[in-house]
Symmetry: C2
Subunit: 498 residues, 2 copies
């Protein structure tokens, strides 16, 4: 009986299998096909992209059928405004609800120029921002440091906004944002600094998150920020020039750089900013000094797009300040038609040492005529002389005040301006007249024709209601400067034109 039962169940099993396998071939095929379909549906997402060559538009179409939320948006700068204008409507109580629709953009919220690390836990962001936004609105800034190391958390802090351009801004105003974090450590693992700039629009509170600085790992020399002031910097004196613009005289620029390369000595450097003024011939007179490593030129012509007053010079000097902040003991801010001078009994070093205790000092201006020349050697020789040799008459009209220029110890400075810094720690000194002054040849730098319009011999001149006196201070060092130029860069610039 057992044997029969076993046999029977075996037979049943066999029968079942047999039933299945005894379906027609076609049915077997259908079952296999269905199996394949379901396998395919499961595996399709994982097929590598190289296997297919469907076009993007097919997929857009495909996608739009399946998921209307994913629609590519076309953004161009001359896009026709695709927003349906909102219509005014009448409310239940009879009041007409009016709508107001903004279009396009007249000013960026923030224009970034640069950002620099200022210490173990601080950075400065330099740029421009819409002027009326700052005058009438309430914009605010937050800084966020996002470490590259995923085990470290991002930290953020309130950005301290410094408006440095004395209200001169036009469509844009210069902004320096100081980001000082309370808890950044001096690890060199790199990271990104993000500036969150909020317009403070009451309805929208729009925030633009702007990546301003990327620090690769191991790129920071933290010693720069922690070493004492006594440690020698790369340069003793660094010149930060304002935006150079216009049809500049190559000869005047030649004279200026030779004079100051000698004046400040070997351990000095000159940073110039080209806003269009360093045309071909001017570049040629700078070239020898660039090759010697004494001059760096920054091409800042692209800032012309943004109307922030005089080629955004306030932004430019702040960029220079923060960029070279740890490379120089002293930074000087003056123009290329201005010549620094210390009395003969002094040297630059002795003067600067005596001003060591000050973070900043301002420098008195000696205004010189750029049209009246001293013809002591006779007219023919006069014209061939260098500018600061022949333009030797000083304007002595009594005025309430004259503009001044200045120098700072940059590590103590957080933001700066054209005539002085108002954002610094430490003392400012305004009485350095006996130690250092500058001679200003206003109007000479863009004069492409012979500047001398009037030749005089006298020690006092009265012209166009203005009194002048003969001041040969710089004239007297003319030969020394020319000799220095010849010794340093040879006669490469001998054919420089007015």
């Amino acid at each position: 009986m057992a044997k029969e039962r076993d046999h029977h169940s075996n037979k049943d099993k066999k029968l079942l299998v047999g039933v299945v396998w005894n379906f027609s071939t076609e049915l077997k095929l259908i079952f296999m096909a269905l199996l394949v379909i379901f396998t395919l549906a499961t595996l399709l997402p994982f097929i590598p992209s190289s296997s297919f060559s469907l076009s993007a538009s097919d997929f857009r179409f495909c996608i739009s059928r399946f998921s209307p939320a994913v629609v590519p948006v076309n953004i161009t700068s001359t896009a026709v405004n695709k927003t349906e204008p909102e219509i005014d409507r009448v409310l239940d109580n009879g009041v007409i609800k009016r709508t107001f629709t903004g279009h396009g953009s007249a000013a960026y919220n923030f224009v970034t120029m640069s950002a620099y690390r200022g210490g173990v836990n601080s950075f400065a962001v330099i740029g421009l921002s819409s002027k009326p936004l700052h005058v009438y609105g309430r914009p605010s800034y937050r800084c966020e440091w996002v470490p590259l190391d995923p085990t470290q958390h991002p930290v953020s802090t309130t950005g301290f906004k410094i408006l440095t351009d004395w209200g001169y801004g036009r469509i844009y105003t210069t902004v320096v944002v100081n980001c000082t974090f309370s808890s950044l450590s001096a690890v060199n693992s790199g990271g990104n600094l993000i500036l969150h700039a909020t317009t403070g629009d009451p309805s929208l509170n729009l925030t633009d998150s702007i990546p301003v600085l990327t620090e690769p790992p191991n790129s920071v020399d933290f010693d720069l920020y922690t070493s004492s002031a006594a440690v020698k910097k790369k340069y003793d004196y660094l010149y930060c020039g304002s935006s150079l613009y216009g049809n500049l005289s190559p000869q005047r620029v030649r004279e200026w750089i030779a004079y100051h390369a000698r004046f400040f000595g070997d351990r000095s450097h000159f940073v110039l900013h080209d806003a269009g003024g360093i045309h071909g011939e001017v570049f040629e007179v700078l070239r020898p000094w660039i090759e010697l490593g004494r001059v760096t030129v920054h091409d800042i012509r692209d800032q012309e797009r943004f109307d922030g007053y005089y080629h955004n010079q306030f932004m430019v000097v702040n960029d220079c300040l923060h960029r070279y902040r740890f490379e120089a003991k002293w930074m000087f801010f003056f123009d290329v038609d201005e010549f620094m001078y210390v009395p003969e009994k002094e040297t630059v070093e002795s003067v600067m040492e005596s001003l060591e205790e000050y973070s900043q000092f301002t420098i008195e201006q000696m205004p010189m005529s750029s049209k009246i020349c001293y013809s002591g050697d006779g007219p023919a020789r006069t014209y061939r002389k260098w500018g600061f040799e022949k333009m030797a008459y000083r304007d002595v009209k009594k005025v309430p005040r004259r503009d001044r220029k200045y120098a700072v110890q940059p590590q103590n400075v957080f933001a700066t301006g054209v005539h002085m810094s108002q954002n610094l720690q430490g003392k400012t000194y305004h009485k350095a007249e006996g130690k250092i002054r500058y001679f200003h040849y206003h109007g000479s730098i863009s004069q492409r024709r012979e500047p001398c319009r009037h030749l005089f011999n006298d020690s006092r001149v009265f012209l166009e209601n203005n009194p002048y006196v003969l001041d040969t201070t710089l004239r007297d060092v003319g030969l020394a400067v020319k000799t220095f130029e010849m010794r340093t860069i040879g006669d490469r610039l001998i054919r420089t034109r007015q």
Copy 2:
């Protein structure tokens, strides 16, 4: 032999087929599966969406594997800026090329409020534009009329820009653009008016194309523009109110509307603009007049987003001017704390008729104290009197000039302001003092407490270094106004609070 060959070839064919069919069942299945796969790959894009329920994220993932160009862009107002910041680079000649990157938007190029047809071939567009753009930049406008009728060509013209706010603008300034076409014909086939607003950015020359007005076919009554001035308008006098803001006193507003509804008569209408000042209780005092069709309220609260000086009042009065330009013979522009008055021997009609030849006349101000009250009826009764009854002391301090208000014949006016229009054709008259004046209760309209701080009985008062005289001009019509209110709207407002 043939038979053998035939048989042989037949046998060959049969053999071939047999070979195929004699493959194992498994191989047959594989072939069928492959057939199914290829069929599926061909048919998949055409399957209707309802058949599937894959999620959007699956497809995004899918898509990103197949076609990297189609990446959905997430645009929200707090989007992280996805533009890679441009890097400064060193050029061949050693110059460092600096880059400047704009982010976000601080001001719209143009904010539209409204546009209205002003004639057979002209329109006015009223809105706001970034203030410094107009002060320092060179923005320009073109108007384009696109007829609905495809057989007519679009026409375009230079938009004439009128800045009407006397330099008061802050982040935004009011702009009226006059679009006068040379060749629009008086066909009523409808069309769209597009304003092309160019920022004049030297590098980008961005133009926003803004649809500002849609005219359906047969919607224009060209008679409005061509009929003579003698044809009676819908209203004789229309009041255009400036932006109402603050915690306004319902009682003062009640008094003002009752007074002027009587003063201007039946063929007058009052247009008020709520910038937040028409709160619940104030609306209640306007409601009876709205129901009678004497008052229209425009809710303009949304303009608060745009800082254009004092709730954009210059834009508001220009909207009113252009919106109702053909509905009224005269438009008056003054505030709700100001009361018009003509001498007893005159009526509004007689005065206005005498000023018929002028497009505009300005109205002299009688400044009244809003704190000093006349207690001629005894203090108890004084407080219960209406504002213009009890505040009866006029400021007579000698000043070089006082603000004035004005009225215009709107068809001659192209843009207007708060104190007068400077963009009109025709004559302006400034010597209408004998004919019409207004009494100004400065400071009374937002006073929620009892305004009378000092009660006097005298005909001359000297307070806080200011001389006042008793002037009962408006006090004397108090009863008539109250009676008029009672007759016109009943006692609905009897419980109005200060």
